[in-house]
C-alpha cells in the first residue's frame, strides 16, 4: 500500500504528512499531527465534535479525506487561543459554566466562532440553528447558548 504525501496549513503552520487514501482529515489531525482536540463522536457527520474550518468554512473533519487537505488552510480548536490569551468564547465558556464533561466543547467553540465571524449579532434562534449540528448530552444547551450570545454582545461592544 502506498501513502499519499500532503502539504497543508494547520493553525497557520505549514504541515506535511503521509496518509492512506481512506484516512479522514480527523484521523490525520488526531493520529498523524497529534492534534487530539478535535473529537470523534460518530464518524458520520452527525455530532459535530470534530468541527474544524477549512479555508474558513465550517466542516465535520470526519467527512473530509485527509488527502483533500492539500493546499488548504485548516483551523482547529488548538489554534483558537492566541498564545496564552483565550478567545472571548473560550473565556466565556469557562466563566458561564457552558461545559460539563467537555467532549463536545472543542467542536462547539469552533462552530460558535465561525457563527460570530459571519453574524456578530445572532438571535437566540439563529445561534440554536447554527449549533444544531453540534450535539451536547450534558448541558441541555442552555448555558452554551447564553455564553455564545453574551460573547457576541461583548465582542460587538469591544469592536
Amino acid at each position: 500500500m502506498s501513502k499519499l504525501h500532503v502539504t497543508t496549513t494547520v493553525n497557520g503552520e505549514v504541515q506535511e504528512f503521509l496518509c492512506e487514501a481512506e484516512e479522514t482529515l480527523l484521523d490525520v489531525l488526531r493520529d498523524r499531527l497529534g492534534l487530539t482536540g478535535s473529537k470523534e463522536g460518530c464518524g458520520t457527520g452527525d455530532c459535530g465534535a470534530c468541527s474544524v474550518t477549512v479555508d474558513g468554512r465550517l466542516i465535520c473533519s470526519c467527512l473530509m479525506l485527509g488527502a483533500e487537505a492539500e493546499g488548504r488552510e485548516i483551523e482547529t480548536i488548538e489554534g483558537m487561543a492566541e498564545g496564552e490569551t483565550l478567545h472571548p468564547l473560550q473565556r466565556k465558556f469557562i466563566d458561564m459554566a457552558a461545559l460539563q464533561c467537555g467532549i463536545c466543547t472543542p467542536g462547539i467553540l469552533v462552530a460558535a466562532k465561525s457563527l460570530l465571524e459571519r453574524n456578530p449579532d445572532p438571535t437566540e434562534e439563529e445561534a440554536r440553528y447554527w449549533l444544531a449540528g453540534n450535539l451536547c448530552r450534558c448541558t441541555g444547551y442552555d448555558k452554551i447558548i447564553r455564553a455564545v450570545l453574551e460573547t457576541a454582545a461583548d465582542m460587538r461592544e469591544a469592536s
Binding site: 492512506e20 481512506e22 488526531r30 470523534e40 458520520t44 483565550l86 464533561c101 467537555g102 442552555d142
Partner: protein, 749 residues
C-alpha cells in the same frame, strides 16, 4: 466503630455556594484535555471487535487462522482466550457480554477481536474470521419475551421469587408496598387503569468507549480508559482475566459523558487480553454504531397502573406492575422502578410488582436514576389524568398527597425531612404556572424521586511546603466535581480556592473508590474531603501547640490559621497554613490529612418539573416552549453545575419522551445505530431550561450537601406526556411521542 457523631450542619460559607471557574476549564476549551481516545503508547496496536450479525445464534465454531496469519495482525482473541475462571453470576455475565461464549445473544454481541498494526489491517482481519452461526429464534419485546412460548435466552437462571410456570426469560420478581390496595380502590370515586410503555433509550454520551491497555512479560498491566470508575475496571478486568488486582493499574482519562453507561466494562477486558497475547499496547475505540448496538441502553418497559382517587383529589390506593426488559442478561433496574414509582406520595394502600425480563438486546447499563423515569412516567401520567378528570389542579392534587417527614414510603422507609412539598409550593407560586397558553399548547407537571448513594470513598489531602494543597480523590469528574471538591477543601481549611488543586488518582495511588454513580461524588467524596481537611487541621494545631509549648486543646483553627484559644493559651500571633507548612520538616514531617469511609446518609431527593409544549396537529410534531425545574439540592456547592445537572437531566428526559428509541426490525437487528436516526435533542429542539434550586440541608453531610445528578431525569417523561396530552386532547401512554405516533392518536381520537 461507627458512632453517631452528629455535628451541626454548617450554614455559613465563604466559598461554597459561589460560582468559581472550574480547574479543568482551560484544558477543556483549548482541546488539551485528554479523553479516552487521546492517549497513545509506543508500539501501540489497533484493536477491533467482530460482532454478531444475528439477534440470537448458537456459535458453532470460530476459525481465526486466516486472520491470525495476515501480515500486521499480532493477536486474535475469542472466548477461548478468557479462562473459564469461576465467577459470581454478575461477573460471569459481564465476561459473556464482553465476549460471547456458546451463544450470541443480540445484534452486535462481541464474538472475536483482533489487534493489528493499523485500523485498515484490523478491519481486513475481521473479515477473515469465519464464524459458523446457527441462528435461533429471537425476541426483543418485553411482553412477548414473557410469553410462556417465547424463545428462551437462558435456562435455569430464574431466581426463587419467580413462579414456576413462567417463561424462562423472567429472571426475578419484586414486590413492595403496604396496606390493602383492593380496599383502597373501592373507596375511590374513580379508578384509572392504564398500560404505559417506554422504549429503550441510550445514555448517549458523545465520547465512545475507548481504552488503551498494555501488559509486560512480568504480568504488570496498565490501562487508560474513559470510565466512571477506574477501580471497577481494575477489579472486573482482574477477575475476568485471572490477574491480581494489584497487578492492574488503571488510570481514568477525562470522561466525555457517562450517565451510568460507563459504570461497567465492554472493551477493557478485551483490550487487556489482546495486549497480553500480543505483548504490545493495544488501543480500542468504539464507533458510534458499536456504542448503540453493544453498550448499555436502558431497559424498555411495559407498566400496568391502577390508581384510585377520591373526588377531592386524595389518592386512595396505588398499584403498578412493571415489566422491564434489560437486554440479554438479568439485572434490569425494575426493582428500583418498583421502589421509586409511588415514592413521592403518602399512601395508605400501595403495592408495586416488578418483573425482570431478558430479551435479545444489548445488556442494559445504568442510566441516570436507573429504573425510575419509566415508573414515574406511568404513575405521574395516571395521577394527572385523574386530577384533570375531576377538574382539579394537578399541582394541588400532588400537594394533597405529597410525602413529607414521617411518611412511610411505598418502599418501606419512613422519610426524614424531605423537600418535595417545597418544590411543589415553589412551582405553584412560580410565574410559569399561571402564564397564558395559546392554541394547541399545553402545560404539564410531574414529580420525581431518587434515592442517592454514598459508598466507598478514600481521599488524601497533602499540603506542600509553600501552603498549596492537593486533594487526591478517586472518582472521575464528569460534570465539575473537581471544582466542588476544591471548594469544600478551601472552605474547610480557610484558604483561597486557587490554593487548592484536586487530582484524580489512578488505582495504585489511593484506596478503593466506588464508581461515580448514584449522585454520590459531591456528597460522599465531599464529605471525605472535608474530613481529610479536618484531619490536616488537627495535625497543624498539634504542631503549633508544640511550638507554643501549650496543650493541643488550646489551639483552634480559625480563618486559615492556628490561633490560641482559652484562658491558658497565652498570647501568640496566629500561624497561617502556609507558615505552618513552611516549617513542617522541623515539626514532624509532611502534613497531610486522609479519610476513608463507606459513606452513608446520602439523603433522598425530589423534584417537580413544569413544561409547556405546542403540538402541530397536522404533523404530530411537538415543540417544547418553556421548561422549569424545581429541585431540592441540599446545599448547592457550585450553583452553576447544579443548574447544569438539572438542565441536562431535563434535556435527556425530553429526548426520551419525544424522540429517542431503539428500533428493532422483525429480524431483531437494531435499525437506527447512529446519531442521525437515534436522534438526541439538538440545540434547536430546546428552549432555555429555567431552574429553581431549593436548598434544604441534608443532615447527613457536614455542609448539608445531597446528590443532585440523577433526580432531574425522573419527572420529564411524564411532564412532557402530560403537556402533550393536554395540548392535543388525547392521552399519550407510549413513549416516545414521535410525530407519526401523535398524529395517529389525534386522527383516531
Amino acid at each position: 466503630m461507627a458512632l453517631d457523631t452528629k455535628q451541626d450542619t454548617r450554614t455559613e460559607f465563604k466559598i461554597v455556594g459561589t460560582r468559581v471557574p472550574r480547574p479543568d476549564g482551560i484544558d477543556k476549551v483549548t482541546g488539551r484535555a485528554r479523553f479516552g481516545a487521546d492517549m497513545s503508547a509506543p508500539g501501540m496496536l489497533v484493536g477491533r471487535v467482530l460482532r454478531s450479525p444475528h439477534a440470537h445464534a448458537r456459535i458453532v465454531s470460530i476459525d481465526t487462522a486466516a486472520a491470525a496469519a495476515l501480515d500486521g495482525v499480532h493477536a486474535v482473541v475469542t472466548r477461548a482466550d478468557f479462562p473459564d475462571i469461576p465467577l459470581d453470576a454478575a461477573l460471569a455475565d459481564i465476561r459473556d457480554n464482553c465476549m460471547a461464549g456458546a451463544k450470541a445473544l443480540y445484534d452486535g454481541h462481541a464474538v472475536a477481536a483482533v489487534a493489528a498494526t493499523s485500523e485498515s489491517v484490523a478491519r481486513q482481519a475481521l473479515k477473515l474470521i469465519k464464524v459458523d452461526y446457527e441462528p435461533l429464534p429471537h425476541v426483543t419485546d418485553v411482553d412477548r419475551a414473557m410469553d410462556p412460548g417465547a424463545p428462551a435466552l437462558h435456562e435455569g437462571r430464574t431466581d426463587e421469587s419467580v413462579p414456576e410456570d413462567m417463561s424462562p426469560n423472567v429472571m426475578a420478581r419484586y414486590e413492595f408496598g403496604h396496606g390493602d390496595v383492593e380496599a383502597g380502590l373501592k373507596k375511590a370515586d374513580r379508578v384509572l387503569r392504564r398500560t404505559y410503555r417506554t422504549e429503550a433509550t441510550h445514555q448517549g454520551y458523545i465520547e465512545p468507549h475507548a481504552c488503551l491497555a498494555q501488559m509486560g512479560p512480568d504480568g504488570q498491566a496498565d490501562m487508560w480508559c474513559c470510565t466512571q470508575g477506574q477501580y471497577m475496571v481494575r477489579d472486573t478486568c482482574a477477575a475476568i482475566l485471572g490477574l491480581r488486582q494489584g497487578q492492574v493499574r488503571v488510570t481514568a482519562s477525562e470522561i466525555g459523558g457517562g450517565f451510568g453507561g460507563k459504570t461497567t466494562v465492554f472493551l477493557e477486558p478485551v483490550a487487556l487480553a489482546l495486549a497480553r497475547k500480543a505483548g504490545r499496547p493495544v488501543k480500542m475505540v468504539m464507533s458510534r454504531s458499536e456504542v448503540l448496538r453493544a453498550t448499555g441502553p436502558t431497559a424498555s418497559s411495559s407498566i400496568d397502573v391502577a390508581v384510585g382517587m377520591a373526588a377531592d383529589g386524595r389518592i386512595t390506593a396505588g398499584f403498578a406492575e412493571l415489566r422491564y426488559q434489560g437486554g440479554a442478561y438479568p439485572g434490569s433496574p425494575v426493582e428500583l422502578g418498583a421502589m421509586a414509582a409511588f415514592a413521592p406520595y403518602d399512601l395508605e394502600n400501595v403495592r408495586t410488582i416488578g418483573w425482570d425480563v431478558v430479551a435479545n438486546r444489548p445488556k442494559q447499563a445504568a442510566y441516570r436514576a436507573p429504573g425510575a423515569p419509566m415508573a414515574a412516567f406511568a404513575v405521574e401520567s395516571a395521577i394527572d389524568e385523574l386530577a384533570r378528570g375531576f377538574g382539579l389542579d394537578p399541582l394541588e392534587v400532588r400537594l394533597r398527597n405529597a410525602a413529607r417527614e414521617g411518611t412511610r414510603s411505598a418502599y418501606g422507609v419512613t422519610f426524614p425531612a424531605i423537600g418535595l412539598e417545597a418544590t411543589l409550593r415553589t412551582a405553584r407560586d412560580h410565574p410559569h404556572w399561571g402564564a397564558p397558553l395559546g392554541d394547541n399548547q399545553g402545560r404539564g407537571v410531574a414529580c420525581g424521586f431518587w434515592f442517592n448513594f454514598g459508598g466507598n470513598t478514600c481521599v488524601s489531602l497533602n499540603i506542600a511546603s509553600d501552603g498549596t494543597v492537593n486533594v487526591t480523590e478517586g472518582n472521575p469528574d464528569i460534570g465539575g466535581s473537581r471544582a466542588s471538591l476544591s471548594m469544600m477543601a478551601a472552605e474547610e481549611l480557610g484558604i483561597p480556592y486557587e490554593q487548592v488543586r484536586t487530582v484524580i488518582a489512578d488505582t495504585a495511588s489511593l484506596g478503593l473508590n466506588d464508581v461515580t454513580d448514584g449522585s454520590r461524588v459531591t456528597f460522599a467524596v465531599g464529605l471525605a474531603t472535608i474530613e481529610a481537611a479536618r484531619a490536616a487541621k488537627r495535625e497543624m494545631c498539634r504542631r503549633v501547640a508544640g511550638l507554643w509549648g501549650i496543650d493541643e486543646e488550646a489551639v483552634v483553627w480559625k480563618d486559615g490559621a492556628a490561633c490560641p484559644a482559652g484562658p491558658n493559651a497565652g498570647d501568640h500571633d496566629p500561624m497561617t497554613l502556609a507558615e505552618i507548612a513552611a516549617i513542617a520538616p522541623n515539626t514532624g514531617g509532611p502534613i497531610a490529612g486522609h479519610h476513608e469511609v463507606n459513606a452513608e446518609g446520602a439523603g433522598v431527593s425530589f423534584a417537580t418539573h413544569m413544561v409547556d409544549v405546542e403540538v402541530d396537529p397536522e404533523t404530530g410534531a411537538t415543540r417544547v416552549l418553556r421548561y422549569t425545574v424545581f429541585q431540592d439540592a441540599g446545599k448547592a456547592v457550585h450553583p452553576d453545575y447544579v443548574e447544569g445537572q438539572f438542565q441536562g437531566g431535563a434535556a435527556q428526559g425530553i429526548g426520551w419522551a419525544l424522540n429517542e428509541e431503539y428500533i428493532y426490525g422483525e429480524d431483531g437487528i437494531l435499525q437506527n445505530p447512529g446519531f442521525l436516526d437515534y436522534r438526541i435533542p439538538v440545540a434547536s429542539d430546546l428552549p432555555m431550561i429555567d431552574t429553581v434550586i431549593l436548598e434544604i440541608p441534608n443532615p447527613g453531610h457536614p455542609y448539608g450537601v445531597r446528590g443532585v445528578g440523577e433526580t432531574s431525569i425522573v419527572p420529564p417523561l411524564a411532564a412532557i406526556a402530560n403537556a402533550v396530552s393536554a395540548a392535543a386532547g388525547v392521552r399519550m401512554t407510549d413513549l416516545p411521542i414521535s410525530p407519526p405516533k401523535l398524529r395517529r392518536a389525534i386522527e383516531t381520537a
